[in-house]
Amino acid sequence: MNWREYQAKQRVAEIGDRFISYVDEGSGDPVILLHGMPTWGFLWHPLRSSLSGSHRVLIPDLIGYGYSDKRDGFDRSIAKQAEAIHVWMEKIGMRRATFVGHDIGGGVALRLATLFPGRVDRLCLMNSVCYDSWPVEAILQLGHPETRRRLSVRTAILLMKQGLKMGFTSSPSNDLLDSLLIPYATETGKLSLIRDAVAVDTNQTMEIVPLLQRITAPTLILWGEDDRLQPVDYGERLAWDIPGARLIRIEQASHFVMIDQPGEVERDLIPFLGGAKVERLAA
């Protein structure tokens, strides 16, 4: 499936003055997949096809990302993203779901699990931002308002492509990288991504650290262990702080673990979604 076909599957929900574009496919227990930066829902499309046979799979583009609202002038922080997801679930009539979050999407999922626990059935984190693991240097630079003037769209996309490559152990195709960045290949998209980048805020993961021990949702942590952007140490810390959480280190996988090792990810994730027990790690 190419990105245009994926985009054609997206639906829209208005949440106040904003709107969220999302894919909603399959039936069964709902699973919400949250992407990170600088990608969009398309990141999940291989996993979407394997999960939608047994689950209702929902993939929103976070506000300010992908094909959700990209206007200038609103807060794109993970705190606001979590609130937006909470309102979006209300809007589409969904009470609870399993959350799978990657990178910033993982940060959003963590905020939901700690601050809106009634929304979260189960939690799976993949190479997620947490504690003070973020922001990475490249994102800090991207977030500078002057970037808009300094970098043309073409250059910005080129630099982000190079940055994305650092998140793989495999060799992603040019086509995949282009598809992951396509929503940002306009002036509007570039500016939106700059605003997304400036919204990264360590405090929003640090402030929920005391709440991690109160998470009641069964939690699985899948981590590409070659990730230099979000090192696996953070996954270990999460596994220690979240009661009953289980960490699975995935070899020969980096930040984009679901693309580097899709088979491994599915093998661990699908039983978990089906209700497989998460073994408590010895403290």
Binding site: Q7, A8, K9, Q10, R11, V12, D17, F19, S21, Y67, D69, K70, R71, D72, R148, R149, V153, R154, A185, T186, E187, T188, G189, L191, S192
Partner: protein
């Protein structure tokens, strides 16, 4: 920073200093999520933009100007009623989100183009030495500043798209329109190339028809009349223009090209919107403007 070229439009993201400040005022005053290319083209002529904007701004903030634009929009909707409808969306497969973006973008231009045509006509007449606007000396109602909450981001495909089909189309459009860049709505529709090509195919036979040509002329006449009735004078003395622009004829021709393009754009956008909306419904503004006084009363910014 882009290398300054007197006739090259200055895109919003490349603006700096006074141009950037004026662009901000234009966006806020016209209640738009982007800077219209007319202003970007004028900005290419250096000091002409500050000159023309200071002449337009007093009117552009008024309810009376908004109402003049509303009447022009309503006239456009009335004029397309007897025309054949392009019915593009039935021939192109778009998903729900794509359609949402497309419709929201058409709404944006449906709101903006009549406002731009009134202003362009005012400038065109002022450049010709006509007295434009009245001599209002009472305080007039002003409208709220800033893009409406529901207005989508003005997103444009790159000026030089990678898709060779689009690149060829853009070149062709630039030649026929005589404008320095492709009109905004074409660049927006280029985000859905299949839709754009189908729209062009379906609109072409309508555009060459006598009904359309009459409608285009009628809109231009109405816009010129509305421009003449603006509440404040639009004064752009030729001597001052000569002081900032080497060739007044060039800027007059450019403004005239925009005037013609905007009249067409109003009709084209209305025709495309008929896929989803009744022409009667198109007569009303998609983004009615609240009064700025009401905003102040509610504790907003003056």
């Amino acid at each position: 920073m882009a290398i300054f070229n007197k006739t090259k439009p200055i895109p919003e993201q490349e603006s700096a200093g006074e141009t950037e400040r004026i662009y901000y005022e234009i966006r806020q005053t016209l209640r738009s999520t982007g800077v219209p290319q007319l202003f970007c083209s004028w900005a290419g002529y250096g000091k002409f933009l500050p000159l023309v904007w200071s002449a337009l701004r007093p009117n552009a903030e008024t309810r009376l100007y908004e109402e003049a634009s509303d009447r022009l929009r309503a006239e456009g909707a009335r004029l397309i009623k007897p025309m054949e409808k392009p019915d593009v969306s039935a021939r192109v497969r778009l998903g729900e989100s794509q359609t949402y973006h497309l419709r929201a973008s058409l709404d944006l231009y449906h709101y903006l183009y009549p406002k731009l045509l009134v202003l362009t006509s005012a400038v065109q007449r002022a450049l010709a030495g006509e007295r434009i606007g009245k001599e209002e000396n009472r305080e007039l109602e002003r409208i709220e500043r800033g893009a409406p909450a529901g207005m989508i981001a003005m997103e444009l495909a790159p000026e030089e798209p990678q898709d060779p089909r689009l690149r060829a189309l853009f070149e062709e459009i630039k030649k026929t329109s005589k404008l320095p860049s492709v009109v905004m709505e074409i660049r927006t529709l280029a985000l859905w190339p299949d839709y754009l090509f189908e729209a062009r195919k379906r609109l072409m036979p309508i555009i060459v028809g006598p009904e359309y040509k009459q409608a285009e002329e009628r809109l231009k006449q109405t816009a010129r009349k509305e421009a003449g009735n603006l509440p404040y004078p639009v004064s752009i003395p030729r001597e001052e223009v000569k002081g900032v622009v080497p060739d007044v004829g060039e800027i007059t021709a450019l403004t005239s090209d925009f005037e013609r393009a905007y009249a067409r754009c109003i009709l084209n956008i209305a025709l495309l919107q008929c896929d989803w909306r009744d022409p009667d419904a198109l007569a009303s503004s998609p983004f009615p403007a609240p009064s700025r006084r009401q905003v102040v009363a509610a504790g907003g910014m003056a």
